[in-house]
Subunit: 154 residues, 2 copies
DNA sequence: TCTCTTCTGCGAACGTTTCGCAACAAGATC
DNA sequence: GATCTTGTTGCGAAACGTTCGCAGAAGAGA
């Protein structure tokens, strides 16, 4: 499951701002999440953390992920269960999440927000609902796999 | 967590069409899911199933839910974890899921599809991605809670 | 540096989900 | 309707992911 996304910065700073104590383990985990090239589940986070510091305990990883999730700094996703039952963690880039999950190559695209913003306005005027966090997930076929498919069937 | 949604029909028929063997337990579970007045997690499904037929085993509930999920007849949702870590099951109404989860009253609204349809077209032309299943979840404040809040703060 | 408080490692415990098996029953065939 | 085949069920044990309670370690502020 490859991952492509825009720039992101300052998880450690945001943690500090929320009053979290900056321990070595937490800095390590923040770094790891920021530098992740793909979506990670709890076990993968643990494995990568261990590779960087063998003394990090599993429970610490869970506790930290939960804390970050509760503070809204990190989100937990299932990516439509296209690649199994795992849950993935990613830094919350803003209030808006968009994931395009390809059911063929399992790739996940995260397009820019640009024209999605008016969605919030629309739901507010149409339903009276004021959205704070928006998550959009689409499972389907990415352009590359569409091309591959039509070529092979030609 | 109350639930409001439109009409839905024929889960048993769709199961049959997919070649599933229609056992008593499966009919019971299908009925239960169709008649659910709120989103149910696996344990709640099991409890309700037991109330209808005391001999239904937990494993059967899990197996059936998984099978339905794999066939795309049922979806598993976390509803943005607004009410905890549980996962909820619901009949897949179409290719489009929209949930507006109120962080105040925990209510879940499922508005009609109407103007969401063009979303698919937009993502196809903008990203070359062909969506098959679309899930939109928004956490925020529903109109009732907005009213309640502004009234009490007035 | 000292103190206060939070965080960590540890390993046991917990709750949920799956497993392997023998018995059972749905649906097809005659 | 009787028979056969194969998928499904109940069961209890097992596996899995996650959380717990504790004692000791380590941030952050004075």
């Amino acid at each position: 499951m490859k991952r492509r996304r825009g720039a992101e910065d300052g998880l450690v700073e945001r943690m500090k701002a929320r009053g979290l104590r900056l321990t070595g383990q937490r800095k390590l985990l923040a770094e790891l999440l920021e530098g992740a090239d793909e979506h990670l589940d709890a076990e993968s986070v643990y494995q990568r953390a261990r590779a960087m510091d063998g003394s990090v305990h599993r429970a610490t990883v869970y506790r930290t992920l939960n804390k970050l999730k509760k503070l809204g700094l990190v989100d937990e996703l299932d990516l439509m269960h296209v690649s199994g039952e795992r849950h993935y963690y990613e830094i919350r880039p803003s209030t808006l999440h968009i994931h395009l999950v390809c059911t063929t190559c399992k790739g996940v695209d995260e397009p820019g927000e640009t024209f999605w913003e008016d969605l919030k306005r629309r739901v507010e005027s149409a339903n009276g609902f004021r959205p704070e966090v928006v998550r959009i997930e689409m499972a389907g076929t990415c352009s590359a796999c569409q091309g591959r498919r039509s070529r092979s069937s030609a």
